[in-house]
Amino acid sequence: MEHIPSPTVDLVSLAPVLVLSVFAMMVLLVDLYVKRDKTLVIFISLVGLLMTAISAFAKFDLPVHSFNDSYVVDELSVFFIMIFTLSSALAILLSIDYNKREGIRMGEYYSLILLCTVGMILLASSTDMIMIFLGIEIVSICLYVLAGIRRSDPKSNEAALKYFLLGAFATGFLLYGMTLVYGATGTTKLGLIAELIREEQIASKPLMLMGIVLLIIGFGFKVASVPFHMWAPDVYHGAPTPVTAFMAVGPKAAAFAAFFRVFAEAMPVLSPSWESLLCIVAVLSMFIGNVGAIMQTNIKRLLAYSSVSHVGYILIAVIAKNSLGSSSLVFYMLAYAFMIFGAFGIVILIGRKENEMLEIADYSGLAYKHPLMAISMSVFLLSLGGMPPLAGFVAKFYIFSAAIKEGFVTLVVLAVLNSVISFYYYLKVIVYMYMKEPEGEFQISLAPMTVFVVVIAMVGTAGLGIFPDPILYFTQH
């Protein structure tokens, strides 16, 4: 019998994934036996995320390639693991009070968030298309379930079903794209693809180009860029609010990490063929996201459309494909995480058991009753719009400068124009809060954990805006 070659196993570099998987399974089992009280489950989840974040630093001499070059630990992945664990921890904290209020008593909820994070880590750290696919599948399947976790709510069911059907469809596109690229190059390893496509002969194969288009479609769906954004508003609307916040940050960041690895790192040689396509997608995302957001009356849908437009901005970082692009990508995702979790934290705080208060009109006169809350919401919204000196401004600034360095001036001008448009709808909410009379009673019980998340988000948003240097230093080195 032939000898079976064993892969280069390096469990230390896989430590974050392993730690988090073990904790996710632990949560699953503990929940079976501790049915009533979710405190223990939540505690284990948070400890697991903390341990994961620590174990991400297990390797020193970066980058480390392992498992036959299909898994890599480098600065980008370590930084992304930080973002993932942070956003998952924030999502879990945000869920504590929300789940109590809405009667979501399933311990699987926390386990799914952890497993989703496992998928995100795999996605951000893999340098093999098969691994990327597996990562995307792990993330997506967890999200399908999370979106529909409020089983008795038809909106939640609708969200899960829509997300699942479209997501499965898009996964098909992604897989086809990978297959075609594999057909053209004969490998699924991103490192090898990068070398192979230096040859004109392989790079100009129609298979390759077709594969790239399909990959863009697949990834475009996963990050909700126009014209593959249709699911986003409905899913964001129907999913439980903490899940919405989680979906808008973690999985999106992970998909962008993979996006960046596939396009900017493995295929920069081919950029003439995908650059213009991505530019169109980016510009469309910004425009349609912003214009769509203007017409919304529901705060969750508004934030969904705004996240579509943010995808447009972030895509510019992928298009820029330089080292500044990657560092601005992670910086943007971090800033975005704080802003989104803050905004959704406020949305959760304002809602109550029977009425989630999701209409923008419900925010009328918030400033008179709860000035602090109105101020924090305004800060988050303005930061999303890109107002200096908040985090959103610095993040956008770095992405734009990365693009200008590569000569994409028109793109940047369009993006800046869009930022201006976006202020219209962000300000609309602020106008409701400050300049309208209150319509009904606010019955706000300040749930401690949610307030805690909002405070963290506030510190993050303001801190990153005013003192971006330490984080930027970290992202660039």
């Binding site: 079976i4 399974m25 699953l28 089992l29 036996y33």
Partner: protein
């Protein structure tokens, strides 16, 4: 000549047997249908509705459980064949694999996925 060729031979013969049986029953049997014969059997009661409709969701969940476990079993076949070569490494890998599967199993059991009522 591949051994699989003989399997296709066997398949052809099996198809032949099936075809002969079906044909014979069609040719030899008499044919005088009436209404009572052509309605579905329901112990003599006239059927009120189509039989195709809703059926217990337990069957669907069972199918899902089967898929999960069957795929694990499929992974075990090549492992079992080459265990003699993989030695302790193979055994440990399978112990980890089955442990993860076992957690899923305990979870399904605990959540009542294996109850049938």
């Amino acid at each position: 000549m591949s051994e699989y060729f003989f399997i296709s031979l066997a398949a052809i013969v099996a198809i032949g047997v099936v075809a002969v049986l079906l044909l014979l029953s069609t040719i030899l049997g008499p044919r005088n249908p009436n209404r009572a014969k052509l309605t579905p059997y329901e112990c003599g009661i006239i059927p009120q509705e189509e039989a195709k409709g809703r059926y217990p969701v337990r069957f669907a969940t069972l199918a899902m459980l089967f898929i999960i476990f069957d795929i694990e079993v499929v992974f075990m076949y090549p492992w079992a064949v080459s265990l003699g070569e993989l030695k302790l490494f193979g055994l440990l890998e399978m112990v980890v694999f089955i442990a993860i599967l076992g957690i899923a199993y305990i979870y399904i059991w605990g959540r009542g996925g294996l109850e049938w009522d």
